[in-house]
Symmetry: C2
Subunit: 70 residues, 2 copies
């Protein structure tokens, strides 16, 4: 389960519907990513990382530092 993608979305005041549109998936599928009921594919992980300008390590909870190295 990757709670950071919910926190990142809420910090930016995005709706699940908006994320689903950005990611080209249904709101149900996106919701399942947030709930950890569906594994996040790498292409989605990369898109989320780009949207929020954070590292994939941060999204996956491997670090508290959100910065992506150049």
């Amino acid at each position: 389960m990757y709670p950071r993608i919910r926190d990142l979305r809420e910090d930016r005041d995005y709706k699940q519907r908006e994320l689903a549109e950005y990611l080209n998936c249904s709101q149900q599928v996106y919701s399942n990513y947030e709930l950890g009921e569906r594994d996040i594919p790498t292409d989605i992980l990369i898109k989320l990382s780009n949207l929020y300008n954070v590292s994939t390590d941060y999204i996956l909870g491997l670090t508290k530092n959100s910065k992506r190295n150049k």
Copy 2:
């Protein structure tokens, strides 16, 4: 396709068979990760990141800097 997981493995002189054992998957499945024929699940991504002590961003080709932030 994520060529870095092949490069990381070869740099350490690991065999695909050894990686498959570490990851608890078949050698065929592991080979498909290297070839980009099967998406890398997040749990596998994290295990590879831990094994090689590199960031998941590096594995995914998002940065040239392999270092994982603390």
